[in-house]
Amino acid sequence: MGMKKFINNPDNLTAELLEGYCSAYSNKVQLVSDKIVMRLKPKDKSKVALLTLGGAGHEPALSGFVGEGMLDASVVGDIFAAPGAPKVIEAMRLLKRDAGILFVVLNHAGDVMSGNMAMEMAKQEGINVKMILTHEDIAPGADSPIENRRGLAGCIPLYKVAGAAAEAGKSLDEVYNIAEKFNNNMATLAVALKPATHPQSGQEIFTLAEDEMEIGMGQHGEAGTGRSQMLSADETAVKMITQLIMAVKAKKGDKIHLMINGAGATTQMEMFIVYRAAKKYVQGLGIKVVHSLVGEYLTVQEMGGFQMFVAKLDDELLKLMYAPADAPYWTVR
């Protein structure tokens, strides 16, 4: 096995990772029932709770965003693999409240199946929960049916606005509507340069030639159809931002959030260079970048590449984006 990683028994990866994470940030989060990461100090039961689910191996996502003003809990599966419905319903029971739960699911087959099953069980048990599906990948085309569009890093700023709305005491319908507004005005495009190694199988999750890159790569190295020769940072940025701006239909005078999310091995230096070019392009259209993030939020192990994310923001969303938060990997004073 040619894999060079700091791991022990590959079967214990997720357990060890969650133990490490929750103990490193024991002032903010706690591990409940093996696979559920919860806020250390739960929010008041009168407020809507925010729940998500997803595979591990994308750190700091998703559990890195459990905390005041963001998620109340995340249910973690195995590496790149959704958790089963039983754990999800367990988390729903823990969060159960009259105010209700907003349940954020990223559009990946396994996540959606577990999510749907858990929703069915919740209904039977009388748990008040509404599900929202993120599907902002525009690689298959922005007009492509929802089931073809993956949920990528956009979930994370979505947790932020929904979490802030919940923290502000809004009702489940209100929080849902805010999240849906964000959801319907966001778009992501990923680009890959170098593969990651699956930490359990030891295999590279895709291959790219020495001079190739791929725009439209999925979250786990699922190849898309956008292979091309390596482009410069500026060319890559402009190619991606053009499509993203079209997808969210932003126009002169609009305000956007712009995020560059590193896949793992791509440096922040590169991300800033790309960010710079994308922002310049956007400003050239008379669109204002009013909130930005550059860093690793949702990674794919040590894959080389990044996701570029755009969301149109109105004043309500912008305010929620800047509202206080205290998750291990997203803190706002």
């Binding site: 997720t14 696979k35 595979g55 973690v76 599966g77 195995d78 590496i79 790149f80 693999a81 959704a82 958790p83 089963g84 419905a85 039983p86 754990k87 990946h108 087959a109 396994g110 199946m113 577990s114 749907n116 099953m117 690689a139 298959p140 073809n148 993956r150 699956h198 359990q200 199988s201 295999q203 999750i205 999925g218 786990h220 190295g221 699922e222 190849a223 898309g224 159809t225």
Partner: protein, 213 residues
């Protein structure tokens, strides 16, 4: 001798099927590397482990309960698409039978059908979409055909396994329209679907388990 199968018989089938799947872990992950994210072997190994683990610690000796517990355990494996799909197969089987079920060939096939029906509630995939449905549908059709023409359970399992293997092979020429493989579109053609393959191993394992039992 009455051609019936009950708790002990099903346990034998499932144990053999689980071992069959476990033995093909790496092969299945390799198939998934070509069209998906390379983890189907790991995923379905955990499901197989859930089957044998649940059998090992079952005290109920009640087939309905055993199948429900297997379904729940399979669902709990945190294995992407595989856990809900396999999990609901067993849940559906459990829900369709009575507590003290002793099944003749027709009843056995009905139980399998109920499992597949429940599994299919998770997905809109049809035959031709390059998924495990391409294995399940012909396998169940063969089982039903055997039962309706009065064949033995052994013969039905054999017909089912043959159809399952053919079904899995048929995915090779298909273009994926479901699951992760859909993302690579045309490039999926020429690769056998991993989920269809693991599902065919389940049927082959059950057949062999019955024969060697």
């Amino acid at each position: 001798m009455a051609d019936n199968i009950g708790y002990e018989g099903i346990v034998k089938l499932l144990k053999a099927a689980a071992e069959k799947i476990k033995a093909n872990r790496d092969y299945l992950s390799k198939l998934d590397s070509a069209t998906g994210d390379g983890d189907h072997g790991t995923a379905v190994f955990k499901v197989a482990d859930a089957i044998t683990g649940t059998i090992a610690k079952d005290n109920s000796k009640n087939l309905k309960i055993l199948l429900k517990d297997i379904g729940w355990a399979a669902m709990s494996t945190d294995a992407g698409s595989t856990s809900p799909l396999y999990g609901s197969l067993f849940m559906g089987m459990s829900e369709s039978i009575a507590d003290d079920a002793l099944l003749d060939c027709k009843a056995f096939v009905s139980m399998m059908e109920a499992g597949v029906t429940k599994l299919r509630k998770n997905t809109k995939a049809e035959v031709g979409c390059k998924t495990m449905i391409d294995t399940l549908v012909p396998a169940i059709t063969a089982l039903r055909g055997a039962a309706d023409s009065g064949k033995s359970i052994a013969q039905a399992l054999s017909d089912g396994a043959d159809a399952a293997v053919k079904g899995a092979e048929s995915t090779k020429e298909m273009k994926a329209t479901f699951g992760r493989a859909k993302n690579i579109g045309e490039r999926s053609i020429g690769h056998i679907d991993p989920g269809a393959t693991s599902m065919s191993l389940l049927f082959v394992g059950m057949k062999e388990g019955y024969q060697n039992g």
